[in-house]
Symmetry: C2
Subunit: 358 residues, 2 copies
């Protein structure tokens, strides 16, 4: 079968031939439909993030997949069922985090991430997975099923952020996304359509005309140009935010978020920047944290429960938004375009097989 991989020492995706995998006991064989491409894939390609499986000279890419069960292999799944795989897998021997169904809380070294670190991804004609790591989705979501994983990332981050405000009567009205990439825009759509915020904002640094600004404004949100209004001036220029969702990976945003928050607000941090030393007014920010009961919560990955919530969320997002978000779905013969990262590309996927409803 064909798979899309990155070879050691290379930074571009390549099509490789691999044997079709055989499912082990407890695993199902899945025929892959589509696999989304995101910023993490670009980081994996560049070598900034992730790592190869032990003893392998290549890593099959892809962690945002949707497929159809080809062989249930004795599991509770049925042939033809549309499924989305979760990303983390237990290293040899397993550990308590996986046992309690919270692989997303496992610390570094206690997990592999398919398509990212230590385990091949899903961007192949077939993949195998333990049945308990496959989340069933309605057939009508098959084409967009590759968005379940990124939505699940936000489901988890919001669950943790809301939990951090659960000790009092929090009545949030305003929310801001930092970053107008595909994850940022998906999150903004959730703020508008499933999370019930009254006023939403999205930060970017693009000039009009721009397709992401169009999406932001079509959603009813306010576009904030970070070149004119830095994050730490947002509260003065617009309003203090009850919730800030950082999806830029720009480290200064993590600290400027403290200023952008309204009293009793919470910031969810999602970015994974590299080392970068800079100056902050650490005293002022510390003071602000305390006197206004603010919170910051880091969040990575997601578990089956978040995937299940994400399926419901995805079904509730408006079709016109999703049409605008997905700027291209490409076959293996057009791989370069799937991995394009220019200003007209928002969200792409690689199609391994078309979904045929039975």
């Amino acid at each position: 079968m064909k798979a899309v991989a990155v070879r050691k020492g290379e930074t571009n995706p390549t099509i490789v031939e691999k044997p079709r995998p055989d499912p082990d006991a407890g695993e199902a064989l899945v025929r892959t439909l589509r696999v989304g491409v995101d910023g993490t894939d670009h980081e994996v390609l560049s070598g900034a993030h992730g790592g190869f499986p032990d003893g392998e000279d290549h890593l099959v890419l892809g962690h945002e997949a949707v497929g159809v069960v080809a062989d249930p292999n004795g599991t509770d799944l049925t042939e033809g069922e549309v499924v989305v795989p979760t990303v983390r897998r237990a290293p040899d021997g397993g550990n308590e985090y996986f046992e309690r169904g919270e692989p997303d809380m496992a610390p570094e070294g206690e997990y592999h991430e398919r398509g990212i670190v230590g385990a091949h991804g899903f961007m192949a004609e077939y993949f195998t997975s333990p049945a308990e790591s496959l989340v069933s989705i309605p057939p009508e979501l098959a084409d967009l099923g590759f968005l379940v994983e990124p939505v699940s990332i936000t489901e988890k981050a919001l669950e943790h952020a809301y939990a951090a405000r659960s000790a009092f009567d929090w009545q949030p009205e305003s929310a801001m996304v930092l970053g107008n990439g595909s994850l940022g825009l998906l999150t903004l759509a959730m703020f508008e359509h499933t999370e019930g915020f009254d006023r939403t904002y999205c930060l970017g640094r693009r000039d009009r005309p721009d397709p992401t600004i169009d999406i932001i404004e079509d959603l009813g949100a306010t576009y904030v140009d970070s070149r004119r209004t830095p994050v730490d001036e947002v509260a003065d220029a617009h309003e203090g935010m009850d919730l800030v969702y950082e999806a830029t990976g720009y480290a200064k945003h993590a600290y400027q978020t403290i200023d952008a928050l309204a009293p009793n607000g919470v910031g969810a941090l999602l970015g994974v920047p590299e080392s970068w030393e800079f100056e902050i007014d650490g005293g002022k920010l510390h003071n602000e944290f305390v006197l206004h009961n603010k919170a910051l919560v880091g969040s990575v990955n997601s578990h089956v429960g978040h995937f299940e919530s994400a399926v419901e969320t995805l079904a509730a997002l408006p079709d016109p938004f999703l049409d605008d978000l997905v700027t291209g779905v490409y076959g293996l013969d057009d791989l370069d375009r799937a991995f394009d990262d220019d200003d007209t590309t928002i969200k792409t996927a690689v199609e391994l097989a078309a979904y045929e409803k039975r």
Copy 2:
């Protein structure tokens, strides 16, 4: 009656004569027993924090009080009942935070704090208070009732910190207090005796022999000298902490806490530093926040529920610890010693009247 106040332009406490206050409707008159002195009082004296009531040339000090109801004035309280007052009062007109019983979540400008900002404190022979801001305590706690307010501060901070970890199966074992002042030591005693941590640590910067180090070790905790082991080296030198409680007001500690935390840990920030610019590796800390699901929660003040929890907590703390913590209780004729802030002073209180059980 006599009261202890700071006059505008002065930085020392003075005894002033004031008329005994008359309770308004819904208020009780309380005969003050004891009023604790803490770091906030010293900040108020120095002018670094707080502010005078409108139109007044002095501020009566004291926000950690215990007293006896002298005149219930038609409220549900009874004469002779031992009570502790909460600190925040609604400014004219009130607001939603007070209406829902969460004055601790009110932003700046939406509250007065008795003895700190905008309203006279409790360090007087009598004070009045709305009955709903008086928490009844058992008579046997009358002598130590001035510790209920500081314990309530930690009750709130821990409630918020635990809430921030409530979205997953958090099983904390290790906890560290930054700061060996009276609030830090009270919190350390809670970690050992009411919060159930397996391993506890307390950071200070004192040489032995020192009474706070003795208390730390008598509690069964490990003393960490910040001059040898900075906060961001604690995880390597000892272990990553599931919980860090910052009570130093030293702004760098807020950020070093991110490094000191174990994966999935939470830091509670309590200090109120002034502006101070310094360099951090903001990229590394941001990365650490996200990849290890860490959280920081700022916390200020406390509400009636936290005072009620604090009464139970205080009753559960061992007497020898409390004896060591309270280094002196002084009458009005010995005021200077109550406000001493040297290395042999841990926690003091001013006694306005001795408790006489009826």
